[in-house]
Assembly symmetry: C2
Homo-oligomer: 517 residues x 2
């Protein structure tokens, strides 16, 4: 096996230490087995063999995940019932290791039964498609494997994060400010709530909530559930989150609310289901008047700021105190890439979160320790999330990112027109963003809107179509009920792998799968 | 350029869509430029070109990060002052994109100026070295790019996370229980504190801290700073964290403490600096008697559970309610890989964190929705962190992981003996784990322990040696003051790339760099 790998790899790369004549062979261990009796004068792992394995695996990834995974003639998913899948994957972890060829087969299996989120017909999530430059950045991040807390161990990434955050802030409209990459939008929203609380009541860090009056958070009906998670986690309580109407206008006496003291308004740019944008200017007026922290959760919608044509959706965002923005969604950097951006220039983030660990943040270092940004974080070790975005941005420029955003809007318009031309597709509102929400009304329900069981029957349509598409693997899109509306589809059209024919296919496929319902 | 890439790649892989005769060429766009005028009937990105770029970048990663990055003849770091580095990297993000060859050069630059944490002479952090199977798992994770919240979009990873967590729990000594992978040990510790609070006072989720008595957290002097971060973030307050003596024995009247109600004891297995282990049995006795949640932060030390010889360090861990364990540290999975494990079988994790988002966790799905584990998390989108650990475990088996742990202990003994043989190396305690803490006493200070300025002068030794090693790039290890001790070195010897000669080199190098001080 090893010989075969070695032979194949000889074709790939002549300049690297996996070859006998290279510089670093002196540190090679016996060729096989990878793990066995130990000689402490030799490394435990043979780097050459490891690199051979990685190279073979890379070919499998290219073939199974990236070639087949973006090919419309291949399935989006290969559905299996959980019990069957568990058996197929043989997940059990055992005492002994396995030979390399078996591990390569395991990689093929993991790829085969995983959902192909890079596939042009994956419309299921707020991420879809693959950008190869971002993916390259992710591979490089993984290979370098460092932690984003000090200039000492992450010199490139400390400077790079600063540059990327600064550029994102400039799109928000801030010439200066602060920020940090977080493991996801929920964490970014939590940062905002925590920093807002600290600004209003700095004693909370030492004394906890008992030193504070009862607090109130305001958000809109359709805001993301992370605001509830944050309130629960941070000891504020979900009952102290008040959902108010923000679409259109705000009408709230925020000074005190059911006895609680308001401190935080959580607005949304791009709601999860419908892609709605709260009107930021009137919200900013109220926050200004009452000294409230204004946070904009633009995890999903933030990317409109790249587009001259569409950034008006977030008019007024520069008046916010903080913004959550997830480039791993519309910008396709890959999970995880979420930024919390702050207008603050007083180091609130650091004051609020620092714990001054002496083993990391020594003050007698030989360089400027303000570059050791790790104490701004609530984490200690922190994954490098800036490189993938930076490399993609370098590759296509702000213009390329703008094009991507504009194209998604164009796709949305096309999809909406296609739906209007067809019987049985009933749009829910006119999409303002790239979420297309609609019911499919099967022939048996058309014209029956006034039947007493109409909603009940309609609610069962999307789940059945979903089950069928998953089991046949032809495409993926999501559904949900919302407010008074029974189950409806939500289709997200952002993938750079996507073309009109994929959307046409999707509508045809819904008809094919649902016409008998 | 493209032709050259194409030619070189022809040697690599015959079965993939980057070749003209492959199945998916029908979806190719014009060969160049990557981004330009749009045709909506074509994908925005050309997959073939993207894959060519990724393949070229992969070769650079193999060569620069993995070959050179593990070669002792190459530097551990290529130190540059921040201003110089920023200029070298040309970080600015511009309107226009860049050609592929320039992007490849950027990848080389990022690699060149990044710290080589895979290098045998990187002793600086609680992670070091590279496992190629884990790295393969990370590449595969990145290529598949899904979110770990539902069986629908992550079928393989929902089952795999369950298996890996179950196996980790069995090493703790639990036949059943719960758990989840988190973005780092601090987050895992936060989960523990939050679930403990919820078990004691479930009303906190709705009503916040105002409905609760003032709470108290207990931990040891040397516990990780994340316990303070957690207390601040969750509204408990750092003043309500009481640091008590746990090394040796506990002596605390925990019932009420300065008027606060104890609910959570945060013990440590493997402290950050010295690698000390709190005695878990007596802590468990107290927690049992008083109904307190016992959490063990084994982010660093947990991996001793793989070793029959060393697991006694965590005797009693099975009596804990929760355990934090970071395989990205000693097990080398790569950041981020941290598990919070719970003994609980009553779905506390879900009850405590769920927000029942209907757009993700529909109850009318066609499969068992208990597989949609995302609502156990405080995150929404969550990176897949289980695959890298699973693949590495499959590759080497529990035995291989045990060998790795035992080998690190053996390295530690060797290093200690080497230090004892040499003048000028003064160990701080006898290492119980794989942290070796010591002062280097330069010749000018030897025998001067009673001088009034001894500590002051000694405190300046480690920072200067550190500066010199960084600027010359020969190796990296950390230093810090602690308690009454002035700056001392901490050397971590866990890398599978490590051999005795690297440790000998390190001691020689400290002498070389510090003998004139």
């Amino acid at each position: 096996m090893i010989f075969q790998l070695r032979y194949r790899l000889l074709e790939v790369q002549k300049s690297c230490c996996i070859y006998p004549d290279s510089a670093c062979t002196e540190r090679k261990r016996r060729p096989s087995p990878l793990y066995g009796q130990q000689d402490m004068n030799e490394p435990l792992l043979d780097n050459s063999e490891g690199q051979l394995f990685l190279t073979e695996a890379f070919k499998v990834i290219i073939e199974e995940v990236l070639c087949k995974g973006t090919d419309v003639k291949e399935k989006v998913c290969e559905w299996r019932e959980p019990e069957e899948l568990a058996a197929l994957l043989d997940l059990e972890l055992r005492e002994n290791g396995e030979p390399q060829h078996q591990l390569l087969q395991r990689i093929r299996d993991v790829a085969k039964y995983s959902v192909k989120t890079n596939h042009p017909r994956f419309f299921n999530q707020l991420f879809a498609g693959v950008d190869y430059h971002a993916l390259t950045g992710r591979f490089l991040t993984e290979a370098l494997n460092t932690s984003q807390y000090t200039y000492e161990v992450a010199p490139v990434f400390v400077l790079m994060e600063d540059e990327v955050l600064s550029k994102l802030r400039s799109l928000v409209g801030w010439a200066e400010g602060d920020g940090i990459f977080c493991p996801g939008g929920t964490m970014s929203n939590m940062y905002a709530m925590n920093v807002a609380r600290y600004r209003a009541f700095p004693e909370v860090k030492l004394k906890g909530m008992w030193s504070l009056p009862r607090l109130a958070v305001f958000t809109s009906q359709q805001s993301h559930y992370s605001v509830m998670k944050a309130a629960a986690f941070q000891g504020i309580g979900t009952e102290n989150v008040f959902k108010v109407k923000m679409q259109g206008h705000l009408s709230l006496p925020l000074f005190t609310y059911q006895g609680a003291v308001p401190f935080f308004v959580h607005a949304t740019s791009g709601t999860t289901v419908q892609g709605a944008f709260d009107p930021l200017e009137p919200i900013a007026d109220i926050c200004d008047r009452q000294g409230l922290w204004m946070h904009v959760d633009a995890a999903w919608g933030g990317s409109v700021l790249f587009s001259k044509e569409h950034k008006h959706l977030m008019r007024g965002v520069e008046r916010a105190d903080s913004v959550t923005w997830n480039p791993h969604k519309m910008m396709l950097t890959g999970l995880q890439c979420s930024a919390i951006l702050l207008k603050d220039t007083t180091h609130l983030l650091k004051h609020c979160h620092s714990a001054d660990a002496k083993y990391l943040f020594q003050q007698d270092k030989f360089y400027d320790t303000s570059l050791d940004t790790g104490d701004k974080s609530i984490q200690c070790g922190r994954k490098v999330d800036c490189l993938k975005l930076w490399l993609m941005w370098k590759a296509v420029g702000s213009k390329g990112l703008e094009e991507r955003v504009d194209r998604a809007f164009t796709h949305t318009r096309y999809l909406v027109e296609e739906m209007k031309r067809r019987e049985g597709f009933e749009l829910i509102g006119k999409p303002l963003f790239v979420n297309v929400c609609f019911w499919f009304i099967p022939p048996s329900l058309r014209g029956k809107e006034n039947s007493p069981d109409y909603n009940d029957r309609l609610s069962k349509v999307a789940p059945v179509i979903k089950e069928r598409m998953m089991k046949q693997g032809t495409m993926m899109l999501g559904y949900q009920p919302q407010g008074g509306r029974v189950n409806f589809f939500r289709m997200i059209v952002i993938s750079p792998q996507l073309s009109h024919q994929d959307m046409t296919f999707c509508l045809n496929e819904i008809e094919r799968l649902g016409n008998d319902l």
